[in-house]
Structures are given as C-alpha cells and as structure tokens.
Symmetry: D2
Subunit: 162 residues, 4 copies
Amino acid sequence: MRKPVIGVMGGSEVSADVERMAGQLGKLIAERGWVLLSGGRDCGVMRASTRGAKEAGGTVIGILPDRETSARVSPHLDIAVFTGMGDARNVINVLSSDVVIALPGSAGTMSEIALALKNKKPVILLGYDGVPVGLKAFHEGGGLTMARDPGEAIAAADTILC
Amino acid sequence: MRKPVIGVMGGSEVSADVERMAGQLGKLIAERGWVLLSGGRDCGVMRASTRGAKEAGGTVIGILPDRETSARVSPHLDIAVFTGMGDARNVINVLSSDVVIALPGSAGTMSEIALALKNKKPVILLGYDGVPVGLKAFHEGGGLTMARDPGEAIAAADTILC
Amino acid sequence: MRKPVIGVMGGSEVSADVERMAGQLGKLIAERGWVLLSGGRDCGVMRASTRGAKEAGGTVIGILPDRETSARVSPHLDIAVFTGMGDARNVINVLSSDVVIALPGSAGTMSEIALALKNKKPVILLGYDGVPVGLKAFHEGGGLTMARDPGEAIAAADTILC
Amino acid sequence: MRKPVIGVMGGSEVSADVERMAGQLGKLIAERGWVLLSGGRDCGVMRASTRGAKEAGGTVIGILPDRETSARVSPHLDIAVFTGMGDARNVINVLSSDVVIALPGSAGTMSEIALALKNKKPVILLGYDGVPVGLKAFHEGGGLTMARDPGEAIAAADTILC
C-alpha cells in the first residue's frame, strides 16, 4: 500500500559526474512513483538526488543527522526527519529503504553499504569500478548488484521490487 | 517550503473517547494541509490519528521503534521510517515536529511530552484534566498549552505556526 | 557476576541541597560496591553524584549525549561512553541501570523517569514532595518508591536488588 | 585521568585463529592497564577478546545492541551498557574508543571501521591481508594502520596514545 522507498546514498563531496548521475537517478525514481529517501543535507549526492526527484514531481524524504536548529537541510525535501543522532541515523536510512542505491562516496557511504548488507537490504552500487574487495561474497550471494548508469540501477531495483 | 509537521502522541491503549478525539484531530490536521507525524504503530492514538488523517486525504508519516520485519505498522501511513531503536525514536518524533499535540497516554507519552519541552518544542495537551503538576512552569512560560477538544488544539497550533 | 548498576538522574541546575543529597547518594552507592551510572556531564546532579562516588572509591560510568570533542565531561568518571545521540542517550541510561534513582530536575529528568517506568525499571524518587500526579498508578503498582533522604533511597535499592 | 579505551571490533563468527588473536589482544590490552571496549555479545571476537582481558585482570565494558532482557551477554564484562538500539550502537562503540582495533569480520565490522574513519578515530586492522581497496586513502593519510599480530597492534596503539 505504501510506495516503495529507495534509499540513495553517496558522498557529500563528489565529482560533477557523480552529481549528474545522482540527479538523473532521482529523476528516474520519481518517474517510477517511488519515494526517494536520502540523508537530507544540502550537499553532494544528497542535494543532487533530492533535487532531481523533486523537479520531476517525486516524493522526497530526508533523514538528517542534525537537530533542526543546526541543520543544513536540502531545500528539495517534502519531509525532513531530524534525528539529532549523528551517524546513528545511517542505520535508520537503510532500515527504512526497500532498496539501497549507493553512489561513490567516502567512509560515511561505506558505513551505509555495510549496514545495509548486514541488515539484508538489497544494495545496488552505481558508478563503481568493479566490486569492492570486501564485498565479493555479498555480490556472489545476490545481495549486491553493480550498475553502470542510473538506468541500469533502476532496472535492477525494478527486478528486486517485482 | 515544507509543510508544517504536527506530531501526535498518545497511548497505545486508550478509551473510545480518546480514540475518537485522535481520529478527529487527524482529520483536522489533514484538512489544514499539515503533515501528521506519529509513532506509526497499529494501535491506540497512533492508529486512530493516522486513520483520521489518511481518510481526509492527508500526508502521514510514522516513526517506528521497530525494524521493518517485526513491526506492527499502521496501514494509514504514506511513509514509514523504521528506526530499530526502541524508545530512542521518541526523541526523533519530537525533534521532527513543529508542534507536538499529546493526548492521554502512559509513560511513553509522558516521555515524549518531557522530551519535547526539553527541546523547546511547543506542546499542546489535548483532553487532560488540568495542567500536570510537574509541568506548571512550562505552562506559565508559554511552552505548554491546554486544549479541551481537537478544534481548540488546532486553533492553538495555528497560532503557534502563524 | 557484574556489580549492580544504579542510575542516578537529576537536573543540571539544582539547589545546593539537592547537590548535597546527590553527593551523599554517590558516596553510599560506592560504599555498597555498586556501580554508579550517570549522564556524565560536569554540572548539577551528574557532577555531584559522580564526585561523591569517586571520592569514596567507587566505580563510575557516564553516558554522555555528546561526541567526545564537544563534551563537558565530569572529571569523576572511570569510563565515559560518548553516544553523540543527544537525548536519545536517556534511553540507554535507564536500560543499563538495575535501579534508577531520580533526584529533582526538569524535563530531562522527567523523561528519564518516564522511560524507566515504561521499560519496567524500578524507580526511586529522592527528595520529591509527594508522588507526582501522573505517576500515582506506578507508585501503587510498586514500580515507583519514594525516599526522603539518600539513606532511604539506598535501603529501597537494597530491597529491590535483594 | 580516565584510562585509555581500546575498542576491539570483529566478527561474531570467526576462525579459531582469529579467536586466538582476539584473546591474546585482550590480554595485552589488560596488561597495559587500558580499558577494553567491545560489542559485548557472547560470541566470536566479542567473547574471545573480553575473556582474554578479564582473565588478565583488565577492565572490560560492553556496549550491547540489545535490551537487557533479550541479550546474550558476554560473561566477561565489568559493565554492560544496554542500548536497545541495534546497529546504531556501532556508532557509540567508535565514539567511545580512543583507538579502534578491528579483527576480521563481516559487514558489521566493516561498518564500524567506516564509522571510526569517518569520525577521525585511529583504526588498526589486525590480521588483514593487505589494505582493503576502499581504505587506501585513509592508510596513506595515516588514520589507518596495519598490524600482523596482537603485539604489533599494541605497539601501534602505544604510538597513537603516546
């Protein structure tokens, strides 16, 4: 009854290419009628993906590490959830997503990929050069899918949600 | 830009009268175009208020204490946020609400009222017999408002959000 | 096998009388060989109770709302747990205590009392003028005990832990 | 004034070799007079490291994902902190450690390594075959050290804490 929720993760400082992929991914998620969930801040993949989804008329939710008063919130959210819990909100991000799509990022993104896999959430890596070494077993086990572009990521999510 | 978020708190086991108030409150929140935020479970004030809002075409978000797999989720949510954090999610409920309206409940509701006041969130008590003794200072300070019925609670929220 | 853990809660700004009671309580907890658990900050009941326990040779643990870098930590802790989770750490305080003793405080203390009762932890109120109105049912049910001075609180804890 | 806290992370199902290393590491931490912090459960690296430290007379703290009532707690803890927060406690583990030493594990361990690096905590990997691909930048930046055996890990921690 609720719409599928796609968690989009990725770095707060990323290349223009990654931002473009994030924006395109957000647009495609919105066009499917899925909800886009992100970390909610106004930078990097969080900003680009939420903007892409919002401009395409989608529903966007952000789960912020901050309390409201200190937060740098993406202006492209329908609903902002303020946790005041720092990185502990990364756990909420993955538990609240039906599928997690991770773009390139740094240690924060890595923690979300690991937490998603630990909690048996399907993970799609978008824009990665090959399967990360520590994750080969998850790739072989089917819990981790590689996608070269946003279209492939959406197709993989479609299969998972089917 | 985002719609105001009204957190509705209250017991998981309540009288038929309180359930009726919760449903009516949900309806009025939806009619204002506000988002209703609740604890998201399928019982008591959580169920009644989300049903009231959803039937009136509102937007409803639930912040659940559970992981998805174990949760008894209200069927009246647009978006379910699964925290897997038990009562720690009570903090998220109040930090993510612009106004907190609390109906009668037990210790869980009491913790949410206290956490809201500690975080300087405006609190409206709906259906209480007088100001609770420990909260008189907050009532005098203006952070705590008493409402006799859902209409009064909505009017108080209106003034706060104005 | 582990020593009993007594959670001591109370305000960050309190009267000299309450500070004196907190210090005395900490001393008595240490003398029993129990572990004192507190919110860990360097003010009010947290400071006074940890100092009392430490000066009497006790074991003291603090569960802080802060990340290490921003924290104002009581110097009287053996172990500091940094949660970075704000008020969500209040839940940890009560879940990690075998008995919760609450001195006077404001909304934060009230939230810890409520969270303890919700989680069926025995609560002792020390230095309160009568049972707070909303808590009468818990007092009648035996989950909430009133103590006039630190000695009475320790005696009540003794009975509970027996 | 407080003793240094060494967080020991690693899998809940590991080889006998890894268990042996974990036990030896716990022993060496205790002999230095440092506090050992672990996830606190009664399996894998958590059990082996806490047993090693406890048998050598050390101080051991466990930060559990569970509520007390459901927990499978290592019997080798001096203090058990019950969070009831599932994987969100991984954040607490790293924020509360002065140095994090990670033995081999699966996605949970990986999330702790990532969260530690994100929070600029020094990380020592013990028993890993080379630097994991995604972590090369942290290794080059000095935040991540490789150790072949417990003695090397302790020496690295010594240098960091010096």
